[in-house]
């Protein structure tokens, strides 16, 4: 398990997201990347059926094809402190809770794409869709060899800037807080929470519309 950065890939003007993703794929192959298997990250949101007094307790279930045996349960509030990593069979248990909690299909978020390999890096560009409509391109970059987040910030920045059309100066906002916490070894939950952070911001940007 290595360091993962999940970033938004800005779609160039005058192009659809799918076109931009295709171009990015070609660019990566030209740079010497190797095409690997397809991948998906899904997010379902569960709402309580009964309205109990107090704020509603919403939680999200994120499934990652890269971790086919696990499912990640992320509460809407304090995702870092209360998230649960469970077996995939936990989904069956959630089905039994259908009388108390139900998933709303309208809030499903999905990222689909193909992963590419380059030495010890894995790059996963994917299309983010909410309810079937494409919302943008997500770029997940993983350095498989380094498990300590703090040590490879500059290196990751250098690598990501070779792919992105506009260079970035800082790691993703979620990681910034993690890096500030010290030299903590990363887990896959960090990746999932970065996805969650992104889904949340995309959803929030949709609400005013």
């Amino acid at each position: 398990m290595g360091i993962t950065w999940v970033l938004v890939y800005p779609t160039p003007e005058g192009k659809t997201h799918n076109q931009a993703l295709e171009d990015l794929g070609k660019q990566l192959l030209a740079m010497g990347f190797e095409k690997d298997q397809p991948y998906t990250v899904e997010c379902e949101t569960y709402f309580p059926v009964f309205n109990l007094p107090g704020p509603p307790k919403i939680f999200h279930v994120i499934l990652d094809s890269d971790r086919p045996a696990s499912c990640f349960l992320v509460p809407d509030k304090d995702p870092l402190g209360l998230s649960i990593v469970a077996e995939r069979s936990f989904m069956g248990f959630l089905g039994k809770l259908s009388k108390a909690y139900s998933a709303k299909k309208s809030t499903n978020v999905e990222v689909k794409g193909t992963s590419y390999l380059f030495h010890d890096f894995t790059v996963r560009p994917g299309v983010l869709t909410i309810m079937g409509s494409v919302r943008g391109i997500v770029l997940e970059t993983e350095l498989r060899s380094c498990p300590v987040l703090i040590t490879a910030v500059e290196l990751m920045k250098e690598f990501v800037n070779t792919i992105l059309p506009t260079p970035i100066d800082a790691p993703p906002p979620f990681l910034s807080s993690r890096i500030a916490a010290g030299a903590i070894p990363v887990s896959h939950l960090d990746t999932v929470l970065q996805y969650f952070d992104m889904f949340k911001s995309v959803r929030n940007s949709m609400i005013p519309k």
Binding site: M1, F118, H119, D120, F121, L143, R144, S145, C146, P147, V148, T151, A152, V153, E154, L155, E158, F159, A183, P185
Partner: protein, 320 residues
């Protein structure tokens, strides 16, 4: 030389003869003192005169004896040296003085005598030398030198010594975590985890490094006692960085190898490993970048431990 000795000896013999004569004379006079006294009376010699005569005779005897003593004191070295072969060789042969008939018999006898003397003399000298030599290494039960080979240090002992040695300077290497394992069939295995980034397995024979392999922090070697899977030391890492690092670590192992100071070479080697803790966080010294062809600077030079990419290293260290 022979003549003088002979003369001296004859002189001594004469002296002895004289003493004997005087003694025999005195004996007679002492034994038959009555007749002596009677003779003296008849000859008109007083007792005092005869006593004086006796004293004179005794004094003469004394001087004679002294004389003999002196003469014998001069001669003994020559007498004793008669036994030496070299002395005998200097002495003119007996045969030369004898008649022609006896000559050949005597000569052969004489030569035989000389050879016997020389051989006994030589054996005496050798035995004296041997005695001196043996006295230095006495063959006694207690101090007998142990000729059996020394008992080989067991792997556990050597591992314990090595552990003590490495713990001694581990404060200087803050990024390294050491784990020691005994494998009687292989030797001591030292597993080093470098700043949680990667793990290095070092196979040690005594204090000599025998093999090195570098792998990612999640690629276990299964060295723990409770591991169910078989020990796996030499499978190359699945990650390219660590495969390259293994090659560099093996080159460094050969660089730091010193057969006479294995422990200090191990120390230098661990210091070199310690410098690799900044594998992902140090840019290349030459190009100033973190990545070159997708890999971080995996080479550290052996003196000041500066980071270089594989490609930059070749360009930097080629004499221009």
């Amino acid at each position: 030389m022979g003549d003088t000795t002979r003369n001296q000896l004859s002189a001594i013999l004469d002296n002895l003869q004289e003493i004997e004569n005087s003694l025999s004379r005195q004996n007679i006079s002492l034994v038959d003192y009555r007749t002596a006294i009677q003779n003296a009376r008849e000859e008109g010699v007083t007792v005092e005169d005869s006593a004086n005569g006796l004293r004179r005779i005794l004094e003469n005897l004394d001087t004679d004896l002294r004389d003999i003593e002196k003469k014998t004191a001069d001669t003994p070295s020559m007498i004793s040296s008669l036994g030496l072969a070299s002395f005998l060789c200097n002495v003119p042969s007996i045969g030369a003085m004898s008649g022609a008939a006896v000559e050949s018999v005597n000569k052969s006898l004489y030569e035989e005598l000389i050879s016997t003397y020389s051989s006994t003399e030589r054996s005496r000298e050798y035995s004296a030398a041997a005695h001196n030599a043996l006295a230095q290494y006495p063959f006694r039960r207690g101090t007998k030198p142990n000729l059996r080979p020394k008992r080989a240090e067991s792997t556990e002992e050597s591992r314990r010594n090595l552990e003590r040695y490495i713990r001694g300077f581990s404060a200087m290497l803050p990024t390294l975590t050491f784990f020691f394992y005994d494998q009687p069939a292989m030797g001591t295995i030292l597993e080093v985890i470098v700043d949680r980034i990667f793990r290095v397995v070092i196979l040690l024979r005594g204090s000599h490094i025998e093999g090195v392999n570098v792998r990612g922090s999640e690629e276990q070697h299964n060295l723990g006692l409770k591991e169910l899977r078989p020990i796996d030391l030499w499978t190359p890492s699945g990650l390219e960085v660590f495969r390259q690092l293994t090659r560099n670590a093996q080159a460094a192992m050969l660089h730091f190898q010193s057969p006479f100071l294995p422990e200090s070479s191990l120390k230098n080697y661990l210091q070199w490993l310690n410098s690799l803790a900044t594998l992902f966080s140090t840019p290349c010294r030459r190009c100033g970048k973190y990545l070159d062809n997708g890999l971080p600077p995996t080479f550290r030079d052996y003196k000041i431990l500066q980071a270089y990419h594989e490609g930059c290293r070749i360009l930097s260290f080629t004499p221009s």
